[in-house]
């Protein structure tokens, strides 16, 4: 059974059908790319998958469970975590705490335990710190644990978003242009990290990116979106050679 199964997904904004009859099926552990021209509806699909927008039509199944129309919170609990195209960190909190917020639903003690500082508080906090540091290490952010997230340079902020999403222990990770604003070296590093996350955590990953080096380098399969509709779908290298994709998206 596929990890993510989307059938006939659509949404309408006024007169604009931003996503129209979108289908995709992603297997567990796959690294999947979503590409397409600007304004094609890629981010909108992420918003639909995570419950930020409610679809006008269509069904979304995560690991067999129907999550269509559920709230963002429920969907995260069901196992989807994401990053944002325009970064959304908890800017006034330290890097470490950003990740610990991600751990919120998995390492738990009651509010009263927290206020009264019962032994469980110390135990769980210790677990959380260890876990968070472990994740930060993956992204090479462990030295910045105490820095306020808002003071990180752009590239590190992107990485921290991924770390935070990962902390919610998702089944499926959605990354929206993770390499935007990074130079080729940094992008290369990021590719390694993403691959590591996929292997090490057995993560299923769906990512949006305009950097073809990244897409070509790490995605096994891609879907190309154009005007809200699927233009092409399949094995990455093949799709990237598809003449329709070249004219609509890649150029030259």
């Amino acid at each position: 059974m596929a990890m993510l199964e989307v059938n006939h997904l659509a949404i309408q904004f006024g007169g604009l059908r931003a996503v129209d009859g979108f289908n995709v099926s992603i297997e567990k552990g796959q690294l999947y790319g979503l590409i397409g021209p600007n304004g094609a509806g890629k981010t909108t699909i992420f918003n639909l998958l995570t419950g930020v927008y409610k679809p006008t039509e269509g069904i979304i199944r995560l690991d067999g469970q129907d999550i269509t129309g559920k709230s963002t919170i429920e969907i995260n609990k069901a196992g989807i975590a994401r990053t944002f195209q325009n970064i959304r960190l908890f800017k006034n909190m330290p890097v470490l705490d950003n990740v610990k917020v991600g751990l919120h639903n998995h390492h738990s003690y009651s509010t009263l335990t927290g206020i009264l500082r019962l032994p469980k508080y110390y135990k769980v906090e210790k677990e959380m710190n260890e876990k968070a540091m472990e994740i930060l290490k993956v992204f090479d952010l462990d030295k910045e644990a105490d820095t306020l997230a808002g003071n990180l340079p752009y590239g590190k902020q992107r990485k921290l978003e991924i770390a935070r999403a990962l902390a919610t222990n998702p089944k499926l990770l959605l990354l929206d242009e993770p390499a935007a604003g990074m130079n080729p070296n940094e992008t290369q590093e990021l590719m390694d990290t993403i691959r590591f996350v996929q292997k090490h955590f057995g993560m299923t990953i769906l990512l949006i990116e305009h950097d073809m080096k990244l897409i070509g380098g790490i995605c096994e399969e891609v879907t190309v979106l154009n005007f809200g509709q699927v233009l092409a779908q399949g094995e990455t290298l093949k799709v990237l050679k598809d003449p329709a994709v070249v004219t609509a998206y890649l150029g030259e």
Binding site: T43, N47, V52, F84
Partner: protein
């Protein structure tokens, strides 16, 4: 008939709130700050008129002009000294608190200069009442003047903001100051102009307030200021027609609450209606309900 009469009273009271709310919302919309001192500028404006007429022996028209000029300058000075240093402060609550300080300052200055005693306001605008239905419904001249002023000011402000270049600059500043600066907008001048306009309107509001309810103390502006703030939010804060409609509705609700429920709990009723409206329409009646793009 008593319904109509109450409605008339409501509109009359509401038009006062509306005219104050227009100045309030103007400043809020552009400078993105709740100017708690707005009500007190109204009070200052009223004292200027009263003093000019009774002590200076000025003609009413001259006195009003003087008051508008005085308040305009006062507004600009307050902005420059107390608000503009905080424009880039890390929280916009900082300037809110400073505004409260300015409010205390104006009240206590007035107290020292004019004394605590309530003064009756002189008649500056003398317009005859209109009598309808064989005199069963009398609409006071000042009410008509207030409503007309409201409409004129509202229309003027809307035209100004939407159609003129400084107006567009104001809109841009309200959205993103740095970006506006990159377009060549003089942000300081624009915000200063906003305060000038808002405070000039406060002088007119002070005149109309004290004409309708002819009493003046150093605290005269405080409560109408708060009510106008409520009215502006009610209508959708930052929205110019919203301020007008919100003000008038607030007046009508207050009067109807007193008339049909209880005059003891009229304030509670008024606020309760406000809450209900905001729960149904969380950005006020005319507020744009903008969904944040994710």
């Amino acid at each position: 008939m008593s319904f109509l009469s109450y409605l008339k009273d409501g509109i009359s009271l509401g038009s006062i709130y509306a005219i104050i709310a227009l100045g309030y919302t103007m400043v809020y919309g552009i400078a993105k700050m709740l100017n708690f001192a707005h009500g007190d500028v109204i009070m200052v404006g009223a004292y200027v008129i009263l003093t000019a007429v009774t002590r200076g022996g000025m003609s009413p028209v001259l006195a009003v002009a003087l008051s508008v000029i005085f308040c305009t300058v006062l507004g600009m000075v307050i902005e420059k000294v107390a608000y503009s240093p905080l424009r880039k402060a890390s929280s916009n609550l900082a300037v809110l608190i400073t505004a409260i300080g300015v409010s205390y300052l104006l009240q206590n200055l007035a107290l020292l200069i004019f004394g605590a005693d309530a003064k009756s306001f002189v008649t500056v605008i003398d317009v005859p009442s209109v009598s309808l239905f064989d005199g069963q419904l009398v609409i006071k001249g000042i009410t008509i003047v207030t409503i007309l002023s409201c409409i004129v000011i509202m229309a003027g402000l809307m035209l100004f903001v939407q159609k003129t270049k400084p107006g567009r600059a104001m809109q841009a500043v309200s959205e993103d100051r740095d970006a506006a600066q990159l377009m060549g907008v003089n942000v300081n001048a624009t915000i200063s102009m906003t305060f000038a306009i808002g405070s000039g309107l406060a002088a007119i509001a002070g005149l109309l307030l004290c004409q309708t309810y002819p009493t003046l103390t150093p605290y005269t502006g405080a409560m109408p200021g708060i009510k106008a703030f409520v009215a502006a939010v009610f209508g959708g804060i930052g929205s110019i027609p919203g301020a007008m409609v919100g003000g008038i509705l607030l007046g009508v609700i207050e009067i109807f609450g007193k008339a049909y429920i209880s005059s003891q709990v009229a304030d509670a009723i008024c606020f309760a209606v406000l809450i209900v409206v905001l729960l149904v329409k969380p950005t006020g009646l005319f507020g744009k309900n903008i969904q944040e793009k994710v």
